[in-house]
Symmetry: C2
Subunit: 182 residues, 2 copies
């Protein structure tokens, strides 16, 4: 597996079922959402701007893409919170290895500021991304069970990377008719 | 990672938070449980009997153990179902590779009959177990985030192994005082 193939497999519209475990409180959170992943051109101005923010040559990018999501959380039972957003993601493969690299993100997972993470693929094709933020670290594992079903485990870690505060699991099913959002 | 080390790390009492995704219905199920994992002696009669059931020489076993669980599901909201049970598990490492082998189970995950699965470790230390049952197949991935926190993703697959009906995710935290069960 390499990043170009992984992004290619990920393009499209996905219906996501996500469970978060807030470990200290043994609290469960459930989110149903729709995720869209679209390819971006290398010369897209947002892609080039994000590279410039990190002083990275835009020629080094591979398969940049945009991810948009829209969902509902059960966190507040009385008034379901609508979760919407989008971010661009720009892979910078390691020139010396096809199985690892860096991932620039216009908006982070643990904190909503631009971030840069390190990714690699394990030998069973799992994409693993580790991102260090100012006050936390995030680890994401994403893998395909079939071409139309992918799973994602996301961990929010303490700043030193040694403890885990939140673990979440998503089942993402490809929506073969993207006009039907749910 | 090898099976002896993995079982050693797993021994003890764990508090588990589990979310199941029933994919066709987009249904969530939540289970809070306690799991105990105890080492068994090679000469334990249940271990020897299970080997005999599968015509396997008991001398080939490594680190047999017993797993017991007790929990509550929210599946039926009016009357929480109490889930209790135990099973013995007997690894049979491949004599030619420390990273793979077979796992005998006194009682299966997808069906409550004795089962035999194939396991291996990926290069990041994840234990992966694939078990074929009569009418389904199961895949489990278990890995440690820290010595006191492990995660488990379990998939119930269709008989041909190509589709997934249920995906579940468990966060398991070591209970440092096993007298306090919750």
């Amino acid at each position: 597996m390499d990043i170009a193939k992984f992004v290619q497999l990920s393009l499209g519209c996905w219906r996501s079922q996500r469970s978060a475990h807030h470990l200290a409180f043994r609290h469960f959170e459930e989110v149903i959402s729709t995720i869209e992943i679209e390819a971006l051109a290398h010369e897209n101005t947002e892609v080039i701007d994000l590279c410039k923010t990190h002083n990275i040559d835009p020629q080094l990018t591979s398969s940049p893409f945009k991810m948009s999501w829209s969902g509902e959380s059960d966190w507040d039972e009385d008034e379901d919170e609508l979760l919407e957003g989008s971010t661009i993601l720009v892979p910078i493969p390691d020139p010396e290895s096809s199985t690892k690299g860096r991932l620039l993100r216009g908006r982070g997972y643990a904190e909503t500021i631009p971030s840069i993470g390190e990714y690699y693929f394990s030998d069973d094709g799992t994409f693993i991304l580790i991102t260090q933020y100012d006050r936390a670290a995030a680890e994401e594992k994403i893998w395909f069970a079939t071409p139309n079903l992918r799973f994602r485990v996301s961990l929010i870690k303490t700043n030193d990377g040694k403890g885990v505060t939140t673990a979440s699991f998503s089942s993402e099913i490809r929506s073969l008719n993207p006009n039907i959002k749910n």
